[in-house]
Amino acid sequence: MSEDNIKALLEIKNLKKYFYIEKGFWKKIVGYIKAVDGINLYVSKGETLGLVGESGCGKTTLGRCILRAIEPTGGEVLFRTEEGITVDITQLDKEDLRLIRKDMQMIFQDPYSSLDPRMTVFDIIGEPIVINKIAEGKELKDRVKDLVKVVGLNVKHLKRYPHAFSGGQRQRIGIARALAVNPKFIVADEPVSALDVSVQAQILNLMQDLQKEFNLTYLFISHDLSVIEHISDRVAVMYVGKVVELADTEELFFRPKHPYTEALLSAVPKLDPRLRMERIILLGEVANPANPPPGCYFHPRCNYAKAICKNVEPEWQKVGPDHWATCHRAGELNLRGVT
């Protein structure tokens, strides 16, 4: 248990996850991939924090580290429990971790591989309830039925197996399972990116309804800015294992402070052709997380890079009310947001 109490529901301090690159017969460690490289974030109760970034930037790894589905290399994940005690998830032993997982659940990206094809819908949704000994027998049945209704599925279909359902329905099953243990906090790892656009909207609306109904807190991971804009209260932008900018959704979309955010925003499609701004095409490749460039990781692709960017790693600095960015020139640049 950690000493310092936190106000937010979840606070991440300097979280790191390095993957080792092994080589040769004896598996000598020849380097690291810094998938998550010293991230600081907080999530307040009842809000949705959007996490956006290119594929491979470490979004999913971050989400999994928070739940300790994979072991983080370093840092703290502070979680405030119902009783108001702050717990450092990274320090928990197996038994305590099992208890805390009742409060934190996950919705997966791929609705096809996240449901065990050999279990009926009832067993899939009921599994967390049975494991955590929340209910059994008739009570279990009633609870599963309630959950199925809540996510908008037919109670008659409980005996079916996942192969009977479409992607959107499967995702609803996944959401019902995540809700089964009454969690406070849910990591939604690209929950809609595997779905058709029409179904995406349904699932997003469902998630918003559930958030209101059960007072849920989301960490919503996505690579799709329009989805993020729709659902998030605040947005964090990730680039090569680091959060480069964090702000309220509106603030971030209209007044970005990091050149990478600006480039991302310029790629959001708009309906009105007159409003389309000139798209900023980033040159070069995404930095290799195993061998990142010196200084700011983004400087080789940045249009505003100066000498300092090539040598000195920028600090995580406050650039406005509730607005942070890691850029040397955050204060002086006047970047374009969504117009």
Partner: protein, 370 residues
């Protein structure tokens, strides 16, 4: 209207079909596999009751009928059709120069075949003394459907009894490799790291040894004074020493693949213990693959036993297996003069093919979700 209802209930049946039901649906479509499976069921059924299905005692010597050819079963004689089948007696002629025996049908002697007749005594499953056979002729007559061997013993009965050893050695051997393969492959895949590397190198080493010489060395090491039962188990262990390697690799590969599946992580996040994840999620997922591999591993076991026994290194007479029976067919002379000695080889081929057909169908059905 009724038609529509039927259709929806059919669909619903598909939706609530479990993994095994889906596999069975797919397997049924594989006609060749069903055919192989049927043949195997018949073989194993006959093997279980081999005393009943054989016509006589397998050690009984008919000294008057050495190397007798198969007797044909007739329905017609000079008087026309008979509902009850019969065999003609055999007349032996010995060439005074070469001492070669030739047999001709003796049309004057006719032995009708009776069903559920009393014949040689035997013990069913070594428990129940009885003398009832499925079919046979009245005493005084002879019936050699597959002919006789060099001691005048009935090859039909011997083949049926040989099947008991040859067909079961595959199952027992595979069972041993299954245990070894699951444990070692499971350790390899679940823990990974150094243990994994050591086990994988051991497997590579074992696979690289030519099997026949290895088996020969090991079989030669079996003490000669052992009872047939001990030799039988000795041989199965020898066969499974190599057999487990392939299985261990399948188990390891599947474990590595499944460990990364989202539903395993979902169970972990839901708070499931390792034991629950292994028994509820991992095992059911690769059980079907194991069954396929076992089915495809049995033929190589049967072939291994047959080759060892054929070379005189496996089971020894008086025990009968198909390989032991084939020992009599080792020289060109006997093959040329007494081709019926090769019948056990035919059984081996049919069995191995049937297993492969069935395994093929099972492999197609193993993952109904792809």
């Amino acid at each position: 209207m009724k038609n529509k209802q039927d259709k929806t209930s059919l669909e619903e049946k598909y939706y609530i079909a479990s993994q095994w039901q889906l596999m069975w649906r797919k397997f049924k479509k594989h006609k060749l596999a069903i055919f192989g499976g049927t043949i195997l069921s018949i073989f194993y059924f006959i093997t279980i009751f081999c005393g009943f299905f054989s016509t006589q005692d397998i050690y009984k010597r008919h000294t008057q009928y050495i190397y007798a050819p198969p007797q044909r079963i007739h329905f017609f004689d000079e008087k026309g059709f008979h509902l009850r089948p019969f065999v003609y007696g055999l007349k032996r002629k010995i060439d005074p120069v070469t001492f070669r025996r030739t047999y001709t049908e003796d049309r004057t002697k006719k032995y009708p075949i009776y069903f559920f007749t009393h014949g040689d005594k035997y013990r069913l499953w070594n428990l129940f003394p009885t003398d009832i056979h499925l079919f046979g002729v009245k005493s005084g007559g002879t019936i050699f459907i597959f002919g006789t061997d060099k001691l005048g013993r009935d090859l039909f009965s011997r083949n049926l009894h040989a099947a008991r050893i040859s067909l079961s050695i595959g199952l027992v051997g595979v069972f041993l490799s299954f245990i070894l393969g699951c444990i070692l492959g499971g350790i390899s895949g679940y823990f990974g790291g150094t243990v994994d590397m050591v086990i994988q190198r051991v497997i590579e080493f074992l696979i690289s040894i030519p099997t026949i010489p290895l088996w020969m060395c090991l079989a030669a090491a079996l003490p000669p004074h052992w009872s047939p039962i001990k030799v039988y188990f000795g041989i199965t262990i020898i066969l499974s020493i190599v057999g487990w390697c392939g299985l261990a690799r399948v188990v390891r590969g599947k474990l590595l693949e499944l460990r990364e599946e989202d539903f395993v992580m979902a169970a972990k996040i839901a708070g499931a213990t390792d034991y629950r994840i292994i028994t509820r999620h991992l095992l059911p997922s690769f059980l079907s693959y194991l069954i396929v591999n076992i089915t495809l591993a049995i033929p190589s076991m049967i072939l291994g036993e047959t080759s060892l026994s054929f070379l005189g290194l496996g089971l020894q007479p008086p025990v009968v297996s198909w390989g032991v029976l084939l020992q009599d067919a080792q020289n060109v002379r006997s093959v040329a003069l007494h081709p019926w000695l090769l019948i056990p080889g035919l059984f081996v081929i049919i069995t191995v093919l049937a297993f492969n057909f069935m395994g093929d169908g099972l492999r197609d059905a193993a993952d109904p979700y792809k």
